[in-house]
Homo-oligomer: 342 residues x 2
Amino acid sequence: MSDGKTTRANAALGAVTMSTIGRLAGVSQVTVSRALSTPSKVSPQTLERIHEAIRQTGYVPNALAGALASRRSRLITALVPSITNIVYSSLLHGFSQILRNDGYQIMLAECGFDPEEEERLIATMLSRRPDGMLLTGIHHTPASRKMLMGADIPVVEVWDISETPIDVCVGFSHVAAGAAVGEFAGQQGHATALTITAADERAHRRRAAFAEAFARTGGQNVVRVDCAGAASLGVGRGAFAQAVADHGFTHGVVFCSSDLLAHGVLIEAQAQGMAVPGQVAVIGFGDQDYAAAVEPALTTVKVDRDELGRVAAAQMQRRILGETLETSVIDLGFSIIRRASA
Amino acid sequence: MSDGKTTRANAALGAVTMSTIGRLAGVSQVTVSRALSTPSKVSPQTLERIHEAIRQTGYVPNALAGALASRRSRLITALVPSITNIVYSSLLHGFSQILRNDGYQIMLAECGFDPEEEERLIATMLSRRPDGMLLTGIHHTPASRKMLMGADIPVVEVWDISETPIDVCVGFSHVAAGAAVGEFAGQQGHATALTITAADERAHRRRAAFAEAFARTGGQNVVRVDCAGAASLGVGRGAFAQAVADHGFTHGVVFCSSDLLAHGVLIEAQAQGMAVPGQVAVIGFGDQDYAAAVEPALTTVKVDRDELGRVAAAQMQRRILGETLETSVIDLGFSIIRRASA
DNA sequence: AACCGGAATGAATGCGCAAACATACGTCTC
DNA sequence: GAGACGTATGTTTGCGCATTCATTCCGGTT
């Protein structure tokens, strides 16, 4: 026992440390450390005594101290615009599950859609010395980029693809997705389109690509309704009602930036007695679990979020292991799921 | 400068520490520490030099080391059954916001509805030495309780109330809520009720209380459908279809354990041509934002989740400041929001 | 018998910071 | 002008652990 003084101080504070356990088991602190991280290097009898001491005291290792000493925190931070938005939280599901199995903890934070707020959060998160970081989207402030590159940890950007990723990015092209829906709508022979778009930069990129492709494929005109806040069923209803009332939208195709908005449109169209898809065709985005369950079932754009989370996790693992990745941009694509609504 | 050796080692590793900053600014490490935590104790000129050095190097403080030295991590962990379930994630919203303003970071984890999994997560979370912990629900394994009481940190349990909280609990009585809906349904003169309940222990307590109160208030019989997995719109539709097909449920009141399930019931009832609320009355739980936006608008039980998050945060703050609280159980109640569906 | 090599353990050190204590140099008071 | 006090800084120490480098003890070799 090397640290009589230390353990006395601990006792006064009531804190149980590795030294406490060691003293109870008749070994030194190092042996306890080994028993927990590399048990094969400790004899079975010693291991048993150590575990007994841990059981008796209810000892919980101090990961802060461990991380400080080893320079590995086994912590991965994730930054999403909104945890209440199922698009992002479901993506995290696959991601966390895989990394949890590797012994990593995920620390989550919500940055809204504001790059400045994101920058502040990146700074506080980096102060916890994570072993890796997951970001949503590819647009970050210059200061954020600088901090991240200086941090020298793997950074995975998801839900979009970029020519110039910070490190690795996994996602799909929002422009391609919007354009694909625009062509789909145009080919169905609609003359008029309505876009309902939430306050999300990526949604607006899809909208712009949609409008361009719709016009190119024979569409005549596009009515545009942008929503200020977060998407919700009520916002979708309201936006559609507004398009009908203010813009005289009575026939055509509606492209919503999320299934939630599209669902709101379905409800409002039904309330107004408009036939879907006969009079109004509705297309959502995201293929949420309810998209197939609504009436009529929703035509939408599917992005495999579970797969996205899994691939992001796999890339994170490989980067943590120090592998230099050949491809740093992974495009997972999307698909249009055609159901009854359009 | 006391630590020439240390700084040399740092330089080799490329790590910027307080000593690095101090050297650049011509002061000691302590002064840098003071500049960041108590700037009023440092002269303006020194402060300026320190900030300049921080800017140049892109220094980010190491919160792990700070927490280890000060024994305060400025970290609060929260454990919820599911982050994709908006009931819990919206509750966290108010909670995080308040504590973030106090300089606390929130670390989130998802435990499903499994106490064993919760126990494992509590252990890993405690290893990060949080300054406080938020738990969902009041049922935890004995080992969990022991760890938490031993950790000597504030623990706030939310979304339920208990006779024997670990520390503080903030919520409402699920039994009282279920009973209130049961009476409400009985008084409307329905003879038959259908309960659709997700796999959630609290939801089942509400269901049982509902059935008891419904019978007491004149109800004749209760059809019971329990769902295995998580609630969703599709599951609600399916459960209602099953009740109609297998149990011959054609008239009466439906009490769902969540608004999501209730929404599914609305859609299925409409698809089957059943009038709501004329033939079938539907009652949800949670008062989600879409409850008012669906057709017909959903009658439901409202729990002020924002308020709940805020109160939980306030209690956490006070306990962290060391105040011994008079009341450790706070019942926030609930209310039945009567809309068109029942 | 001298040697080797592996298994099990321990001593010493430092991760980056905050807290306690110490010092230097003023300014104000009687 | 001696003491008291305040402001700005520095020195020292240790938080609890992982890492590195010994050390001891063993059975097996030659």
